[in-house]
């Protein structure tokens, strides 16, 4: 995705996805909705890169947060 967004490559400063590990029970809706950013471990729990959500995926990231049945996913502002 380098060069496609408005922010210069490697300088993304958008919000990050963060999991509440106590709430999460590994249903995997976030991974289905946002496979670009969310993988799953062998037990089904999300693996999320510790990197800002790129602008072109922010809408999907927001939907993943909303759709999580355990309310275990949040978008946290940078910094």
């Amino acid at each position: 995705m380098a060069g496609t967004g408005r922010a210069p490559a490697g300088k993304l400063t958008g919000p990050k996805l963060r999991v509440n590990w106590i709430a999460c029970d590994g249903r995997g809706l976030c991974a289905e909705l946002l496979p670009e950013l969310v993988g799953r471990d062998e037990w089904g729990y999300p693996i999320i890169a510790d990197a800002p959500v790129p602008p072109h995926l922010s809408e999907y990231a927001q939907r993943a947060v909303t759709i999580c049945p355990k309310l275990a996913l949040r978008l946290v502002p940078p910094g």
Partner: protein
């Protein structure tokens, strides 16, 4: 009553000199302990800017994380509204004994520190968190009563019982327990200094940190800095065990050499192969390195370990480091709060694989599996239990790599199966409700 207070603002009590011990200088438990204590250490100072003194002293938390104490005090003091202070004596670490020793022998020093910290953050509630059934409890309860009768503390100190679990002293678990719930870690944020006990800004300080505050408030930062290193001033309590003649808690200055520390514990009784620093969330160092490196975080951290809460276990050459690590990894997996999926699933797999690696002819992929599961649990929990466990396990894979090679070839360098690292006896089940 006034004799128990030192009301001078600028005066400093005559310091007892730079010699050791400091914290453990005057055991003052039992009836009449308060008089013994005041005679030995001097009256409880009042009217001092404790936060400034602690800042100048450079005191860091003695509970394991080593965070600058003054910053923590200032953060909670700035939060203002109806703050809470908790003295953390919930020492769940099986190889540690220093919090119990402090509470048992110098309860008034800990209670002085609690009182001073409460004053500094203008707390409305003060608690002391101590393991249920602790042998220190009767003496502590008596000490609290004695101080109340003497008009010593402005705030009532309530003792809250911790369950005998490894994670009971974890800050957020402590906050849940003191709030009346189970001692289970919770998700952060909020941090406890933002929203802690019953939603109020909460200062949690290890009981050794509190005792150090009590000394700093009396004798001043310069006295405190006379021992220790420039970047890590003061003394620390080390729980020394393993291949030493007299396993015990030793107060030594930070930066002490390992041979000196082992000497204070009766001396080595065997050739060493490795030393565990920082307890079961800590890490192993090969003996040759450990014997040459001073016990200071500035020296240890580049080697991947830290002092933590001062646990030092000397592993003799005739023991199997992998078997020791496997036994502790199983204990740590059992002690997971089992709230977070990666920890709940990953730690038992790591423990199983280590048990395989501890036996002859493990599958040659075992180490790779341990590393894969380790990377899957690290950083993926509400608390640091998975991270700490992985730190411990990875250090074992590094330090005992040659031993693992031997095991793959069907051999083991150990000549004894006698356990070195303590884990709680299996006959005593941990409380399931975490209370």
């Amino acid at each position: 009553m006034n004799a128990l207070y030192d009301t001078t603002v600028n005066g400093t009590l005559t310091p007892p000199g730079a010699e050791l011990p400091r914290l453990l200088r005057a055991p003052a438990a039992g009836p009449g302990g308060l008089d013994v204590h005041v005679d030995a250490y001097g009256p409880l100072p009042s009217g001092r800017d404790v936060i400034a003194l602690v800042d100048a002293a450079g005191l860091t938390g003695r509970g394991g994380a080593g965070f600058p104490t003054a910053r923590k005090l200032a953060t909670v003091a700035a939060a203002g509204r109806r703050t809470v202070v908790v003295g953390n004596g919930g020492e769940g670490e099986p190889a540690a004994g220093k919090d119990l020793l402090l509470l048992h022998t110098v309860p008034h020093l800990v209670l002085d520190g609690l009182s001073l910290a409460a004053e500094a953050v203008r707390a409305s509630d003060t608690y002391l968190y101590v393991e249920r059934g602790s042998p220190a409890l009767p003496g502590l309860e008596a000490a609290v009563r004695e101080r109340r009768r003497a008009g010593m503390d402005r705030r009532r100190v309530e003792i809250v019982h911790a369950p005998p679990r490894f994670l009971a002293g974890e800050e957020s678990a402590l906050v849940n327990r003191v709030s009346g719930g189970a001692a289970l870690p919770r998700a952060t944020p909020p941090r406890v200094f933002e929203r802690g006990v019953r939603g109020r800004p909460t200062l949690v300080q290890n009981v050794e940190t509190l005792a150090q505050i009590a000394l700093i408030a009396r004798y001043g930062p310069a006295w405190f800095r006379a021992l220790g290193t420039a970047t890590e001033p003061g003394t620390m309590l080390f729980s020394v065990s393993g291949a030493v003649a007299a396993p015990r808690v030793i107060e030594a200055e930070i930066g002490v050499s390992l041979p000196a520390l082992l000497g204070a514990a009766g001396g080595q009784i065997a050739r060493l192969q490795a030393v565990l620093y920082g307890g079961y969330h800590g890490g192993w160092l090969p003996a040759a390195d450990a014997l040459a490196i001073p016990l200071a975080n500035t020296a240890l951290r580049p080697r991947g370990v830290s002092l933590g809460a001062g646990v030092v276990v000397a592993l003799p050459a005739d023991a199997c480091g992998l078997a020791e690590t496997a036994r502790v990894a199983r204990y740590l997996a059992d002690e997971s709060a089992k709230q977070c999926g990666p920890c709940l699933n990953g730690l038992p797999r790591i423990a199983d694989a280590l048990a395989v690696l501890a036996r002859p002819h493990p599958d040659r992929r075992t180490r790779a599996w341990i590393e894969r599961w380790s990377s899957l649990v690290a950083g993926r929990g509400a608390c640091h239990h998975p991270d700490g466990t992985v730190r411990f396990v990875r250090s074992a894979l590094r330090v005992f790599a040659h031993e693992a090679d031997l095991h793959e070839g069907g051999r083991c360098s150990a000549t004894t199966r006698r356990a070195v690292l303590p884990v709680p006896a299996p006959g005593v089940p941990a409380p399931r409700d975490w209370r």
